[in-house]
Symmetry: C2
Subunit: 736 residues, 2 copies
C-alpha cells in the first residue's frame, strides 16, 4: 500500500522548478490591496527569498514599479478585480490598476487573509522575529495585509513554510535622502534629546526672518533631495549671497517686512477675512521692487537672477491695495475705517455725513452750554441709549423745558431733544451705509487678490527660498562654513569638520564652563565606499567619539540640503540614506528591552543600507554580556565589509578594543582613536581624532570626574589591575 | 636666614587643632546668602570633610537646621548683617535670621565671592569633578554661591586647598520620600519615556473623577509622605471603600458632579467672576448631603467618618444659592437672567415691567396690522436702531401718515411712531435697572460664598482626597491589588508582584501581539537591609530584568503613597529615597557622554543613599570598555555592601556574569536570574525570577529575534564559540 499525499501544488507564482524559471530574471508572486489609504503591495521571489512591501497613497506612483517587476501571479481579495473593473470612469488610477491586473494570472483569496494584524503575525512567524522594527517597518504597515496573504498562499502551495524568507524590505522611491525616525531622534535634527527645539540642528542653522522661510527650512531638512543639480544650485546661491554682504544685509532687511503670504492666502480662500490680512499682501508686494533691485545688484550673471524672475511684482494689484487700504488696519471687518479716504467718492460722501454730524453735535454742545449756562453740559453716547445730553445734579434747576428726560443716573440726569433725536437717526443711517459700502469694497479687494493667488503663491515660495538661503549665507559667515563639493562619487572627505550644534553651544558661557573650553576642536574625516570604507573609532569615554561621528553625519546632511558646512573643506559623494544607532533607551511597555531596541535599530540598518548609505554606529552590543556583545559587534563589522569591492561608508565607535585587530583581516577597515593626554592619573581630553587604535578606555578616570566616591574609584583600580594581569589576550578567529 | 611665610591663619571656623575641637560634635563653618529666592546656606566641617548645601524659599524652614548645627563661624556678604538688622519690622524671617547671626562670629567677604557661577567653578575644582550631577546638584543651585565663598575662605585660611573635601551633599528636610529627577524619568512616574502621559505610573493609577482629585494624586506621587500613620490611614480608607462596592459606586457618582471648588474660589477671590462659577459652588454643595449619607452608610466605626466630619454642608449658603440662582446660568455677567424669579421682589417688579412692555409691543403689532391692513407688518428690534415697524416694499402705499420713516432697506422701509418711541425708552430703562439690580444681588452672593471660603476649601480638599481614595479602591478591585503592610522595619517583601503599568498595557491587543501574551507573570521579592540586602540579577536580554527591578520600585512607591499594590502580599519597611539608574542617554551639547551621564547618576546614588533607601541599578558600566566597566560595577557592589551590618536595599541587574562570584565574599548579596527555556536554538522567555546565577546571556538569540541578518547571527555564533573556548575563566580578587 503506497500512501499518497499532496506534496506541492504548482502555480506560476510559486513554482521553483528550474526549468520553469528564467535565471536571468526574478519571478515574482505579488499581492495587492487598495483602500482609502492607497495601494498596498507585497511581492516575493520564492526562488531568491527576496521579499518586499510597498505602499503609496497614489496607485499611479506604485504601478510603474509593479509593472517593471512583471509578477507571474497576483493574489487579490476576491471580488476586487470585478470592483475595479466597474469603478466610476473618472477613477483613472483604479482603471490603470485593473489594466495592470487583467492580463495576468490572478488568484482570489478571502479578505480575512489580507488583514494587517493577521499579516503581522504571519510575517513575524515566517521570519522568526519578535517584531518588524529590525526591518524599519511599523506593526501596522498597511502592506502587511498583502504580505500575510502572500506568505499564506505560498505556504499552502508549497505545503510547507517557505524556508528562505529571511528579511523583509520596504520599497521606497529613490528621490530623497531617507532619514528614519530613529536617526532624526539620534542626530537631534528637529529637537534635542531633552525634547527642546534649542539644541537641535534645525535651531542651530535657522537664520530665517519669515515664518514661510522657517517652514521651508524644516521641509528641506525633513526630505533632503538627491538631485545633485538642485543641491548645487542652492549651495551656489548661498555663495553668491555671501560674496556681497552689503546687499545680503539689505535683502534680509527687506525680507523682514515680508508677511506670511501662504497662510494669508489660505485664510482668504477659506473666508476668514480681515483687513489686516489684506494689508499683509500690500506690505509684502511693496517690498518686492526693493528686493528685486537688491537681487539685480548681484549682477546679471548671478544665479539669483532666475530666482528674481520668479518674483512677480503685480504692480496693478499693489496699486489697488495701496490706494484702497488705509495705513493702519483693524483686525475686525465690523470696525470699519480700513478703506482709505479718496478711494471711493461714495464712501467719502457717506463718511463726510458722519463728520458733518459730529461737527453739528459739538456745535450743539457749545450752543446748549451757552443757552442753559451749564458749563459742565456734555453730549454723550452709549450703544444702548444713543446720543443724550448729560446734566449733573447741581445744574438740574437750569434744565430748559424742551429737554426730554430719558434716564436718571447716580450723578445726574440724561436728556434728549427733538433735534438731537433727528440727528441721531441721520448719524446712524450714515454710519451704517458707510460700513456696508466699505464691506463691499473690501470684498472686491479680496477678489482681486485671489485672482492673483497663483502668482502670489509662487512669489511667496521664492521669497521663502531666498529667506532660507540668505539665512544660510549669514550662518556661513558667522561660523566660517565652507562650500561643500558634491558629486556622484563614493567619497566623503571633510577637513577640519566641526559639530554644527555643539560648536555653537560652546559659546554659551554656562555650557563652556561645564566643558572647560569655548572652542571646538575640528577633526578630519575620509571615507570611501571602495577604499577607507569603515572607520573603527576607539578611545576613552568623554573624549568625543560620539560628537565626532554625529558631526560627520550632520555635515553630510547639511551638504545635501544645499547648506554650507562647518569645515575647512568638504567633499560629499551623494548619500542615499543616513543611518544611525546611538544612545540607548528601552520601551518596557511594548516589551522591548534596551538591547532589543538597539538590535532592532542595527537590524534595520543591516537590512536596508546600500553602498551609497552613510552609517554611524555608536557602541553596538552594549546591552548584553561581554562576549555576546563583542561577537555581535564583530559580526556586524564583517557584514558591513562583506562585499569584497565596496560597502556603505561607516563610522563605528566602540569600546571593544578587541575589534581593532580586524584591521589585519578587513581591507577597507581603518582604525582611529581619540587622543587623550594622561598626567598624574588624571586625563586631559585633547579631542583630536588620530589614526591607530586606542590602548585604554580610562573608564575609571571618567567615573572619578563624574563624582563617584573615591573609595569606589580606588577599589575599581585594584580590580582592573587584577583583571588585566589575568587576561590572556584573546586571539581572534579570522574573518570567515 | 630663615624664610618665613604665613602657613595657616587660625579662625574658629577653620581650626583643625585637636585641642580646639570637641570630638563629640561637628565643628562647622557656614556661609549664608539671602535673596528673593530664599535663604541659601553651605556648611562644612573641615575636620571631617562633611560639606553640605541647602536652600529654602522660607528662611524659617532652614534656620532650625542651622541653629542645630551651631556653626562656629559664619561667612556673610559684607553689609548683609547690617541690612538684615535694619529690615522693615514686618519681615520677621529676616529678623530671625539676624538674631541667629548676631551672637556668632561673622566674617564678611565681598559679594563677588558668593556668585553662583564662581561657586560652581570653585566647588568642582576642589572636588576634582567635571560637574555636580554626581551629587544630585544642578549647575545653578543657588547655594553654590555660599559654597564657593566657604571654599575660598577655607583655602585662604589654610593657605592650601582643603584636601579632605570629597563630596557635597544637599541637605533636605526628611519628611517626604525623595525621588530625584532621574528617578522620576527612569521610572516613568509622570510621563512615559516617549514623553506621553499614557504609559506613565500616574496615568495607570489615576481613576479620579474630579480635577482637584487628579491634582491631589499628582501631588501625593511627587512627594510621598514618610508619615507611617498617614500612609496607613490612606491605605485603610481604600480598604473600607473597597469593601462596600455598592456605596463606593454611589460615592463616585456623586463625586462626578462635584465641581472644581479650589479653582472657582481662586477666580472669585481674584474678581474673575461669572454666574456659572457660583453655580459650581451651588451644585457641589448640593451633592454634599448625598455624599455624607453615603459615607455614613460605611458604618459609624469607619475611618471614613472622620473624613465625613470634615465635609461642611453649609446648608444656609446652599439654601441662599439655590433660591437665588437660576437653573441655567450664563458665563457673562452682562447677559443677565441668572437670578431666579421670586428671589428679589424688586427685581421681579423690574422684570415684569419688561414683560408688560413686550406684551404691549405685541398688542401694538396686532393693532397696527389691523389698522393698516398690512398683514406682513412686524415690530422688530436692533441694537443700533431700537424698536421699529418694518413695512415691505409692496405695502408702502398703505403706510399711515403718522409713521415716521427711520431707515430704508433693500426690502422695504423702517418706521417708528411716537408711542413706540416712548415705550422704547421705558423698556430700555426697565432692562437697565433690572440688570443693575441683578449685578448687585450677584455681588452679595459672591460675598456670601467668600465668607465661607475656608470651610469650602477644607471641604473641597476632603472631596479631592475621597476622589483619589475611591479611585484607588476601584483600581485595586479592577486589577486585584493587595493592601500593603507598612512598618518601620528594614524589609521589603513582595509576593507575586506585578508591574502596574506593563500589566495594564498587556491588555492592549496591539501591545499584547508584540509580546505574544496578555498576562503578566508575577514575581516575588525579598530584600532586607540586614539580610538579603543586595539582589544581583543576571539573565538574558528581553527576559524581563528591567521590568522586574522597576516593578519593585513602583510597588514600593505605591505602598508609600497609601495606594494598594499589584501583588498578592506586600510588606514595606519605610523607604526614605528611591534611586534608579537605568537606560542611557547622552547630552552632547553639555559635553556629557552616555557613560558620563551613567556615572553621574551612579555617583549621586552612592553619595546620597542611606540604609533606608531603595536602589535599583540596571547594567552599571555599559558605556566603557569591558574591564573598566566590570571593575566599576564590581566596586559599586562592594561599596553598597561595605557596612558589615546593613546597607541600602538594592536590586542590581547586570550582564557581567563575573559578578555572580561575589556571592562567596559578600554576606548580604544574593544571586537571582530570570529563567529562560532553550529549545532548538530558540529561546522562550518564562519571565520568572529564580534564585541562582544565570549561565548565559542569549544576546545572539535576541539579536536574531530583532531581525539581524541571519548571516550576521551565524557568524556571531562562531566568534562567540571561539571567544568562550579561549577564555581562561577569570579569577576574581576577593573583596578588600
Amino acid at each position: 500500500l503506497v500512501r499518497r499525499a499532496v506534496t506541492r501544488i504548482l502555480s506560476p507564482g510559486t513554482t521553483l522548478a528550474a526549468n520553469q524559471l528564467d535565471a536571468q530574471r526574478n519571478h515574482y508572486l505579488c499581492a495587492l490591496t487598495l483602500d482609502k489609504a492607497g495601494l498596498h503591495a507585497a511581492w516575493l521571489d520564492l526562488s531568491t527569498g527576496e521579499f518586499r512591501v510597498a505602499t503609496d497613497a497614489r496607485p499611479e506612483n506604485l504601478l510603474p514599479v509593479l509593472t517593471a517587476l512583471d509578477p507571474a501571479e497576483l493574489i487579490l481579495i476576491e471580488g476586487d478585480l470585478e470592483r475595479w473593473k466597474t469603478a466610476p470612469h473618472d477613477q483613472s488610477a483604479i482603471h490603470a490598476l485593473h489594466a495592470f491586473c487583467e492580463p495576468r494570472l490572478c488568484t482570489d483569496l478571502p479578505g480575512y487573509h489580507f488583514e494587517t494584524a493577521e499579516g503581522l503575525r504571519t510575517v513575524t512567524t515566517i521570519l522568526g522575529v519578535l517584531n518588524l522594527q529590525g526591518f524599519g517597518l511599523a506593526h501596522d504597515h498597511p502592506a502587511l495585509g498583502p504580505a500575510g496573504a502572500l506568505v499564506h498562499y505560498a505556504t499552502e502551495n508549497l505545503c510547507a513554510k517557505p524556508e528562505n524568507l529571511r528579511s523583509l524590505q520596504e520599497y521606497r522611491s529613490a528621490r530623497t535622502l531617507l532619514l528614519d525616525p530613529a536617526t532624526l531622534r539620534n542626530l537631534e535634527i528637529f529637537q534635542s534629546s531633552r525634547g527642546t527645539r534649542d539644541g537641535s540642528l534645525l535651531s542651530a542653522i535657522n537664520r530665517t526672518g519669515t515664518a514661510a522661510g522657517a517652514r521651508l527650512l524644516e521641509r528641506w531638512l525633513a526630505a533632503p533631495t538627491l538631485d545633485l543639480a538642485e543641491i548645487q544650485r542652492r549651495s551656489a546661491l548661498v555663495g553668491e549671497l555671501l560674496a556681497d554682504p552689503l546687499h545680503l544685509g539689505e535683502l534680509r532687511e527687506w525680507l523682514d517686512n515680508v508677511r506670511d503670504i501662504p497662510r494669508i492666502l489660505g485664510r482668504l480662500q477659506n473666508r476668514l477675512r480681515n483687513p489686516r490680512e489684506l494689508g499683509g499682501i500690500r506690505d509684502t508686494l511693496s517690498q518686492l521692487p526693493a528686493i528685486r533691485a537688491t537681487l539685480s545688484a548681484f549682477g546679471p550673471n548671478s544665479q539669483l537672477s532666475s530666482l528674481n524672475s520668479q518674483l512677480e511684482e503685480l504692480p496693478s494689484l499693489l496699486q489697488l491695495l495701496t490706494s484702497a487700504l488705509a495705513d493702519a488696519l483693524p483686525n475686525d471687518l465690523a470696525d470699519g475705517n480700513y478703506i482709505r479716504a479718496g478711494h471711493c467718492p461714495e464712501l467719502d460722501r457717506l463718511r463726510s455725513l458722519t463728520t458733518d454730524n459730529k461737527t453739528w453735535l459739538s456745535d450743539l454742545e457749545r450752543g446748549e452750554q451757552e443757552r442753559t449756562g451749564i458749563r459742565s453740559l456734555k453730549i454723550k453716547f452709549t450703544n444702548n441709549f444713543g446720543y443724550y445730553i448729560e446734566i449733573t445734579k447741581a445744574n438740574l434747576h437750569l434744565v430748559p423745558p424742551d429737554y426730554i428726560r430719558r434716564q436718571t443716573t447716580v450723578n445726574g440726569e440724561r436728556y434728549v431733544t427733538e433735534d438731537l433725536r433727528t440727528k441721531e437717526k441721520e448719524i446712524f443711517h450714515a454710519e451704517e451705509n458707510a460700513l456696508a459700502r466699505e464691506q463691499a469694497l473690501f470684498a472686491a479687494l479680496v477678489a482681486a487678490v485671489l485672482d492673483e493667488s497663483i502668482a502670489l503663491a509662487r512669489t511667496a515660495d521664492t521669497l521663502a527660498e531666498l529667506d532660507v538661503l540668505a539665512g544660510w549665507s549669514v550662518l556661513a559667515r558667522e561660523w566660517d562654513y565652507c562650500q561643500p563639493v558634491l558629486d556622484e562619487g563614493d567619497t566623503l572627505e571633510i577637513i577640519e569638520g566641526r559639530h554644527p550644534v555643539v560648536e555653537q553651544m560652546l559659546k554659551d558661557p554656562a555650557v563652556a564652563a561645564g566643558r572647560g573650553t569655548t572652542s571646538f576642536v575640528p577633526n578630519d574625516t575620509l571615507l570611501s565606499s571602495t577604499d577607507a570604507q569603515l572607520a573603527l573609532i576607539t578611545g576613552p569615554n568623554m573624549a568625543g567619539k560620539s560628537t565626532y561621528i554625529r558631526q560627520v553625519a550632520l555635515i553630510t546632511l547639511l551638504a545635501q540640503v544645499g547648506c554650507w558646512t562647518p569645515a575647512k573643506t568638504c567633499r560629499v559623494g551623494l548619500v542615499d540614506r543616513i543611518f544611525s544607532r546611538v544612545g540607548a533607551s528601552d520601551d518596557l511597555a511594548r516589551g522591548n528591552s534596551t538591547f532589543m531596541v538597539e538590535m532592532n535599530e542595527t537590524a534595520n540598518i543591516l537590512n536596508n543600507a546600500t553602498d551609497r548609505s552613510l552609517i554611524i554606529l555608536d557602541e553596538i552590543g552594549r546591552g548584553t554580556s561581554t562576549y555576546d556583545g563583542l561577537s555581535i559587534a564583530w559580526a556586524v563589522v564583517e557584514h558591513l565589509h562583506r562585499d569584497p569591492e565596496r560597502g556603505p561608508r561607516t563610522l563605528f565607535a566602540t569600546h571593544y578594543q578587541e575589534l581593532t585587530q580586524l584591521e589585519k583581516h578587513l581591507a577597507r577597515l581603518r582604525n582611529f582613536s581619540v587622543a587623550v593626554k594622561e598626567w598624574n592619573d588624571e586625563i586631559v581630553f585633547v579631542r583630536r581624532v588620530i589614526p591607530g587604535a586606542a590602548d585604554r578606555s580610562y573608564g575609571i578616570q571618567v567615573a572619578r570626574l563624574a563624582g563617584l566616591p573615591i573609595t569606589v574609584i580606588d577599589r575599581a583600580k585594584v580590580i582592573l589591575q587584577k583583571l588585566e594581569s589575568d587576561d590572556t589576550s584573546v586571539e581572534l578567529p579570522s574573518a570567515a
